[in-house]
């Protein structure tokens, strides 16, 4: 009778929708599943005592010299660093009685965070997709395999553009003060 005390769950979240991800992680904690390692779409959980925990994500890539300072700042403010994946930093803290504590407390820093994500997506887009677009019309290898490759490239590119647009809209929403988080 060995009860499993770790499990891995696969879930996909959009970058502008990390609030949903945070709430999901809190629900898992309430069921006693505490995030042990975020690995992109793979989330490893460990079984523990059910707890009311607030999760928050920051998008930040502190340089080596700054890393300690960064983590100390969060640690001092009562946040545990759970892990990171691709510059997404996962923090958690015990839920208090008041409203959920925030790691970003003004619209400027919320916008700055989305701009960092948007910046990376745009750079990759230019580096990877612009060459791909310019190759349209040139002679292409034929066959089912290449059709599938091009089709999945196309779908990925549409998703990419969608993500860029949504992030841009999110930034605009915050600038116009229409949303708190």
């Amino acid at each position: 009778m060995s009860e499993k005390n770790t499990k891995t769950v696969i879930r996909i979240f959009w970058a502008w929708n990390h609030g949903k991800e945070e709430r999901w992680l809190s629900r898992m904690a309430r069921d006693g599943w505490h995030l042990a390692a975020p690995r992109g779409i793979y989330y490893r959980f460990e079984k523990g005592t059910p707890a009311d925990v607030v999760y928050r994500l920051d998008y930040q890539n502190p340089k080596k010299a700054d890393r300690k300072e960064y983590l100390n700042l969060f640690g001092d403010a009562g946040w545990d660093h759970v892990g990171e994946f691709a510059n997404w930093q996962y923090f958690r803290t015990a839920a208090g009685d008041g409203p959920s504590p925030e790691i970003h407390t003004d619209p400027e820093s919320r916008m700055a965070m989305y701009r960092r994500v948007l910046g990376l997506l745009t750079v990759i887009f230019i580096a990877v997709w612009v060459p791909a677009i310019t190759s349209i019309g040139r002679p292409q290898p034929s066959g089912t395999f290449w059709v599938i490759v091009r089709l999945s490239q196309g779908i990925l590119m549409i998703l990419w553009i969608y993500a860029i647009i949504r992030l841009g809209l999110r930034i605009r929403e915050i600038r116009q003060g229409r949303t708190g988080r």
Binding site: R56, D58, Q60, P62, K68, E69, Y70, N72, L73, F74, D76, A77, W79, P101, E102, I103, H104, T105, D106, E108, S109, A112, M113
Partner: protein
């Protein structure tokens, strides 16, 4: 008008978070010290989250408003201490004056409106 003051004027107006961070640094403090001080100064009304503070500090460095002032060791961890630069001091002074002026002018208007309401 001095060149420093001109430069300081360019940094205005400050965002609320920046304002609180800068007035906290009238005395050198480390990051957590800033967050605690803001909470205390604002009587718990304003909080600066660590994500916001970490994002704000490099900007203030870039603008030349703050500088490193050594390190402080607490609980075996060394923490960077920040202080206002000369320019930073000018900015705080000018911003406080600006806000005082705004508040004074606003008060006159508010009194007039209150009287209108009474009538």
């Amino acid at each position: 008008m001095s060149e420093l003051e001109d430069q300081a004027r360019n940094a205005l107006p400050l965002t609320e978070a920046t304002y609180y961070v800068l007035i906290s640094l009238v005395e050198p403090r480390h990051g957590y010290g800033i967050m605690q001080n803001v909470t205390a100064l604002s009587e718990n009304k304003v909080r600066i989250g660590p994500g916001t503070l970490y994002g704000a500090l490099p900007n203030l460095f870039k603008q030349g408003l703050i500088e490193r002032a050594g390190e402080q060791e607490t609980e075996g961890e060394r923490r960077k201490v920040y202080a206002l630069t000369k320019l930073g001091r000018s900015v705080v002074l000018l911003e406080c004056e600006r806000l005082e002026t705004l508040a004074r002018i606003g008060r006159q208007a508010a009194e007039k409106l209150r009287e209108e309401r009474k009538e």
